[in-house]
Symmetry: C2
């Protein structure tokens, strides 16, 4: 392998990616040696472009390209009274696709996770507070996962906003549409029964 410095360097860099170990790095390298040279160049260029062009929006911390403010914050037809708080920029695309939300967003870039050494100051929580106070926001929808870290973060936001007269909501829990009762966990099912909707 020492006679192949370029291959060795690639394997080393690939193994830094999440979920890529020595074996999958080898499989990727095998694929990259087999596929068209054009595809490998395209991937290399896409990577080179990414960090030069894609930045965080100065207002909501969503991804934005070649501009200070993202296309959603730039859209003046939205309601500024309601903010949807998400963990990651890709969550925005998900919410946008469902079409049920027409306010602005705020990306935390993670959740509070003491075990992983992620504390409130590592997230965009103070920026959220400033935004809420300056822009007379009336409701925060927390579209945060409902696991231990997500719940901790939701509680933190609730306490942080205590002095502000705003509503804070979380996404409803229940059976996914098209979901099968058999595969639903007990906690979700008991919530779905508790919050049943009358016909």
């Amino acid at each position: 392998m020492n006679s192949l410095p370029s291959l060795k360097a690639l394997l080393f860099e690939l193994q830094k990616l999440p979920g890529v170990g020595p074996r999958s790095a080898q499989r990727l390298a095998e694929y990259l040696m087999k596929t068209s040279k054009k595809d490998v160049s395209a991937l290399s260029e896409a990577l080179a472009d990414l960090r030069d062009r894609v930045k965080k929006c100065a207002r909501c911390f969503n991804f934005t390209e070649d501009r200070e403010i993202c296309s959603i914050c730039d859209d003046t037809t939205r309601s500024s009274e309601i903010l949807c708080v998400v963990e990651q920029p890709f969550d925005i695309f998900k919410v946008e696709n469902c079409g049920a939300f027409k306010g602005y967003y705020h990306v935390l870039h993670g959740v509070i996770s003491p075990l992983n050494n992620i504390h409130p100051e590592h997230l965009t929580l103070s920026e959220l507070k400033t935004r809420v106070e300056r822009n007379s926001v009336k409701e925060l929808i927390l579209a945060i996962d409902s696991d231990l870290d997500g719940d901790t973060t939701a509680l933190y936001i609730l306490k942080m906003m205590q002095s502000n007269p705003i509503q804070i909501s979380r996404l409803a829990h229940g059976i996914p549409i098209g979901g099968n009762l058999e595969y639903i966990n007990d906690k979700t099912l008991s919530q779905a029964i508790e919050r049943r909707s009358y016909l």
Copy 2:
């Protein structure tokens, strides 16, 4: 997403990689936006270098960098009477690491797999035949996986070499050292009993 052409391009290129779907492409992009810019550049450069510098050895089809012949084929201290036939270049590193083989190699770059439309002419089989005939090779060790496609390829090589007076062997099957009997499949166990070694 349309306002983020660079990110879109990267997701598109990432999804061409084996085992990378839309969700893992997003996870990789999230990681690449979070990690140091230096790491992303290093990965981009390693990819750009790969296909410019790493080629296939003209003799054994192993990977070689900036030279026609790989470092193993260039090593004149090895025995030219014995060839180890492997599927992929990375298999060579594996065999080299165990230290039990001191001949040369031949990389097939795959196995015969009619279901995947891989036929003998797609592999380096005719080059193997020429090599055996020109270099008075005395033994071929087939270090090929023992699945359906591997067995087909081994049989093909056996038939192809019928007119040549050489020995053809395959790697021994049996219990891996340190392996647990409980997890060994029946076929391996029956081979291990059949070919047991007397103490």
